[in-house]
Amino acid sequence: MEQPSRLAVLGAGHVGPVIARLAIRAGYRVAIATSGDPEDIALITELVIPGAQPRWAADAVADAGIVVLAIPLHRFLDIGPGVLNGKLVVDAMNYWPASDGALKAFEAGGSSEIVAERLAGSTVVKALNHIGYHELEDRARPAGTPDRRAAGVAGDDPAAAAAIVGLLDRMGYEPVRLESLRAGRVLQPGSPVFGAVLTPADFRRAVREDARSLT
């Protein structure tokens, strides 16, 4: 399948600019947006994400084949679900109560499953949430490099997951496919792959062991 070439990153905090830079290097046309005026992030974009285009969120989303959510999870609750209708959405957010506080809406179940429920008109894939933003760029390596590290891709829709497998591969990670959003719970805070940057073999082993511990 042909890879979508336009990508929108929502969020210009710690994580969004890092993902945007990796996507630009991977050959995507990248727009970045916050909840506010693109003028407010013009200087940030020029210096920190050269090559990206600051836009209003609705415009960035409308033109994008892939939308990456890189905002604090509590801010996600402010997004009207209709804005993302028909889109392939990468959920790079985390429900991390020990670090960001508890949220009632996310207490029951995997955070990306709850995101997908709220975005019923979108196709949600969980990825790019489990490697720390301070390491994500530094550890990226082209395909075939011996010390290339693994990154998980979890989704219920095979075509959508395949597109994100392609995105991660181009960004510099060995994609490891998890068969559903439910299975993607293994990428969440508290799991052995969260905050680690593992080789594909170690990553698969950690996922298997974690899956066993859940049964």
Partner: protein, 342 residues
Amino acid sequence: MTYTFGLDTFGDRNGGTDGTPLSHAQTIRNVVEEGVFAEQAGVDFFGIGEHHTDYFPMPAGDVVLAAIAARTDRIRLGSAVTVLSSDDPVRVFQRYSTLNAVSGGRAEVILGRGSSIESFPLFGYDLADYEELFEEKATLFAELLKGGPVTWEGKTRAPLLSQDVVPHTESGPFPAWIGVGGSPQSVVRAARLGFSLMLAIIGGPPARFAVYSELFQRALDKFGRAPLPVGVHSPGHVAATDQQAKAEFWPRWRDIIALVAEERGFAIPTEESFDWETGPHGALYVGSPETVAQKIATNLRALGATRFDLKYGMPGLTHEQLGTNIELYGRQVIPRVRQLLG
């Protein structure tokens, strides 16, 4: 170029020589001694970071700084950081302008969150409100620093109407920084409000922060402000040799990161990652005076920074080990960095 070199502590609970932890009270008394000793060793700044845990029993650093002020003449004294979001900006201003009075004008404040989150539930704040709390309170703090009557209204505390907030400072605002961990929007906020920028670099390659330094100066210009200093805060440990410094620091660092990792649910770092962080491209300054000095000089240059604060200590290190660290940092590292930066 004038460079400033500081030491920061979180009140890391000391280990005794037999390995058992010292009491909170003894650790705090030791911090007072360490601050006094830092001045004797030639350090320019001594900072205390707010924490509320058994391993960092340091919720009221300003009280400790006042004790150090009474026994010193020259060293600058400040927070590193004050968790402003869960505090009252008026009280923070009052405590540090009081410290400024006690110390004869040596107070500073670094505002931020650090990685500290314990103060939110302790004081009844919701971590999800962090952004709004910090934005409002930092804005009010910038107003308070100007001196004179303050009029302010917001959602996070009672309004102020032409309020005279005492004690007044004798010679204008004391230095105030915002500590930033890597969000470009936080860098722009510091510039917009007129705070200096303290880059907290605790993992990953420091060079990736160079763009934030440029962003800060460009943003200051955009907001019509004069240039302001950029500083770096990073953890480390200095001992006679690289080997000794790493041997002393690694088990303490591993234990504390493992504890935090368990509390917050992320993977525990390996010795391999520690070796990388203490190497030439990592964020930790662990080694002999020469190793640490070279790394500081390289990164200050790369980041366009004029201030370096070494966060010394780790829970479990002894008061004696910390004393050696302070002495080597003050008497060997700082002069060597000044020499390297010419």
